[in-house]
């Protein structure tokens, strides 16, 4: 239908040649196309590296036997952003840890199971700076023989945390269970479709939620793909945008299926920098999220464990933060034990201090994680379960007095927080 002035001439030329030369012509054209594609990709990679370097944050996740995502066991990989370069070591159980944990809890040990998303996996943080490692060290410093088991996986919402606890985490017999709460959770919970609210009660809706996992698993078999995923800025750029679009599509589809529309036009799921506006408490996705947390609490408490919710506030600027638990209905907040670092973040905020990274994916800095740890520590000190297992452990150094604890806390907070520390710059 579209005429090409050169087409007729080309046609007459080629019709005069034999099949061999025609084949050679096709091959040459193909070769040119391949060369042009390779050149274009290489140029695009160079262009992005020079003008808009991307955060290289490959996701090493796969499917688990319990139908949700999990960290790839025994994976070793790096994340590199303009602010940090971090290595991740995943143990054979899919936890970010440098040791293995038997199902059987060692005698005299307090186990805390942590369920969260990339914030609690410790994205953009060295293992030693993560919330879980710091919490464990702090408890041990106080004489509690503690083991923090980190079941967090990037992208998790409350629904996946609940499923991970039900199917896997509870087997480790934790004394305390900590669920993260972040502004992305309401969308994640709707998107996963794992649970639904039926007459105010949580019901299992789907047995599986493995978005893109089959493709990811197939690709991860190829070393070339892993090299590209780990090192290509072009790939990182495309991946983030495609994943964002797919997530929005999935959310729209799930909402359409359940007739739940709570997102205002133009409002998108909050990113890690978090700027999603407050929502109506009666909206279906908030109700689902609140019900999931209450359901998780019931389940955990019924097993004689203690349950806490750890809030990750949203950052609106370097020195301003917004609560994310305020999205939950007041009665839900009253029923939950919530660990919120919001007030501590506000107190610690300084124009020259970052509590969240700003050029990568917006996760907590070591300082931010340290403040969160401190708040968590203060909250769980009152846990009867922790007191019970701590009293059984009996081997650690004696508990410091209140005065010692305060002094120790100040010194520890100053710790590696001095200007020039990479994570806090």
């Amino acid at each position: 239908m579209i005429s090409d002035p050169g087409a007729a001439a080309d046609g007459s030329r080629s019709s005069g040649c034999g099949a061999t030369s025609r084949g050679r012509g096709v091959a040459l054209r193909l070769l040119k196309m391949v060369a042009l594609t390779v050149y274009s990709l290489a140029f695009a990679e160079a262009f992005i590296r020079v003008f808009s370097p991307q955060a290289l944050v490959p996701r090493y996740v796969t499917g688990t036997a319990w139908g949700i995502r999990g960290n790839i066991p025994n994976a070793r990989y790096w994340h590199q952003t303009p602010e940090v370069k971090v290595q991740y070591r995943i143990n054979s159980q899919g936890m970010r840890a440098d040791r293995e944990y038997p199902f059987q809890k060692p005698a005299g040990t307090c186990r805390i199971a942590v369920f969260g998303d990339s914030f609690l996996v410790g994205y953009e943080l060295d293992l030693k700076d993560t919330f879980t490692t710091q919490l464990e060290q702090r408890l041990r410093a106080q004489g509690v023989r503690a083991e923090i088991l980190n079941f967090s996986v990037s992208g998790f919402g409350t629904a996946e945390m609940l499923r991970a606890y039900e199917k896997f985490g509870r087997k480790f017999d934790p004394d305390l269970v900590l669920f993260e709460w972040h502004s992305t959770d309401p969308d994640d919970n709707v998107r996963s479709g794992l649970y639904r609210l039926d007459d105010g009660k949580i019901k299992v809706d789907r047995s599986q939620y493995l978005p893109g996992i089959r493709t990811q698993d197939s690709l991860m078999k190829f070393r070339l793909y892993r090299i590209i995923a780990d090192n290509s800025h072009l790939y990182a750029f495309i991946r983030e945008r495609v994943a964002g679009s797919v997530k929005r599509l999935l959310l729209t589809r799930r909402r359409a299926l359940h007739g739940a529309t709570t997102t205002a036009p133009g409002e998108s799921a909050a990113d890690n920098q978090g700027s999603s506006p407050a929502r109506n408490w009666s909206s279906p996705d908030i109700k689902l999220s609140a019900a999931l947390l209450i359901h998780a609490q019931h389940m955990v408490i019924a097993e004689h464990r203690d349950f806490y919710v750890v809030e990750i506030p949203n950052r609106t600027s370097r020195t301003q933060f917004r609560s994310t638990v305020e999205r939950l209905p007041p009665d839900t907040r009253e029923r939950l034990k919530i660990i919120s670092p919001l007030a501590a973040f506000v107190r610690a905020a300084r124009p020259d201090l970052k509590l969240y990274y700003e050029q990568g994916h917006g996760h907590l800095t070591p300082t931010g994680a340290r403040i969160l740890t401190e708040e968590a520590l203060a909250a769980i000190e009152g846990s009867p379960q922790l007191a019970r297992c701590a009293s059984l452990s009996g081997e650690g150094p004696p508990q410091p007095s209140g005065m010692d604890l305060a002094r120790h806390k100040q010194a520890w907070l100053r710790g590696s927080d001095a200007p020039g520390h990479r994570g806090s710059q």
């Binding site: 239908m1 579209i2 005429s3 090409d4 002035p5 042009l36 050149y39 274009s40 140029f43 695009a44 262009f47 992005i48 003008f51 808009s52 750029f237």
Partner: protein
Amino acid sequence: MLFNSGIFALFFALFFPLYVLVRQNVFWRNVLLIVASYLFYGWWDARFLILVAISTSVDYMAALGAAGKPVFAGDRLKSAAFLLVVTGTCLAFASRKDVWLMPLVVAGILLAAGWLKVIDHAPPERQRKYWLYLSLFTNLGILAFFKYFNFFVGSVAAVLSSLGIEVEHISLSIILPVGLSFYTFQAISRTMDSYRGKFDPARSIVNYAAYHAFFPQLVAGPIERAAHLMPQFESVRPLNRSLITTGALLFVWGLYQKMVIADNVAPIANAVFSDPANQTAGMTLAAVLAFTVQIYCDFCGYSNMARGLARCLGFDLVVNFNLPYFARTPSEFWQRWHISLSSWLRDYLYISLGGNRNGRMMMYRNLMITMLLGGLWHGAAWTFVAWGAFHGAIQVVYRALHVDQLLERIRFLTPAGILIHMSSWVVTITLVMAGWILFRARSFDDATVIFSNLFGTEGYSRGTFWPVFVYATPLLLVEIYQRMSGKLEILNTGPFLVRHTAALSILLALVLFSAPGGQEFIYFDF
């Protein structure tokens, strides 16, 4: 529907294959173009289409009559039927409370029929004039009501109030239909050219309606002349890979100008012009520079997108911007800036007023009137009138001093020539930027504050100017190359790999650096 929106991408992706299928048949191609253009325009507000249809129906007949051709009953029926069909279809998509528009349109048709009776009984030479008046009355009437009613009424009330006469201020809640100033001017130009014997209108309302509503240029020009564009709607247009490729590249370049440059510097200008009192000299200058870049890239970008899209369909639209910021005199600036409007004002206003035919003083008067009305065309506010007056005044001064003729005589490639030409450029760009302050300021008070801010010394830091510098530098380099090579479409020339790399860079920049959220096109409000 904005060119830089996802919905437009979907629209074009669905439209283009259909267009390719029917493009060999002029009638069906034009029907498709009408439907697509009306869908494109009606996406803003279906009711606006009634105005497009009124202008189309009236000017279809008016051009025939103004050219001295008989306007048969069949032509009149076609016009009325077209208007009624469009009105009925629009109202089907509009809210129920807008149904009153149908009897209004019918009443308008009956009124027009009465006027046609008057024309029919007039002597033949007078008839042509009456047809022209009908076109002017209709198009300028629509423009005056929708764009200027509140401005005129408010201004009259203010004048009376200053004389101590208090009157109740009537203000109507009128929405300004997008692109109104563009398509009414284009319609007037066709009828005017028919009247002047420069264009021979054909008897096909389908062809004319497609021309009148052609979606690439309907809402923000270029304001086309019938002699250039109308014949393209009366013939099968060539369409080949080269046209599509070059059209797409032009579109992408326009998109880059709009989304990467204009939209990214806009916040710098917006911040200062919305609160000029609390700004330093440095920030104010950065904002003026930012707006100078923004308005150019916004409008030139749109024109390039329009031309690129039209070329992908086999149509050729006129060049609307020819490196205007390289102008060395104000009159050269107007020969390069919004060329389709400045040539319209020249041909239909300045020349109609007498041009330079009745002596120097009359020429200055005509120039001032033309620029004042040109300013008013841009918006219903006294700041626009002042902007027009400012440009009129500096042109009068330049003409009185014969600056253009003097510069013509000085060769560029000599040390003295370089100094003089560069100085002229510096003076002109400074004047143009001063004009943009009047254009962009919300009021004369704001403009005064901005001008006085510029005489300060604070706030000059690298950080203040860096964002404007970052976004303007690639454009400046491209334009210097365009100027030196004498080619506007540099992406279409040179070795393949260079062109490919340049196109790839623009696409990557678009993806990476497009401003989040984006801004409306400035000229949509005109």
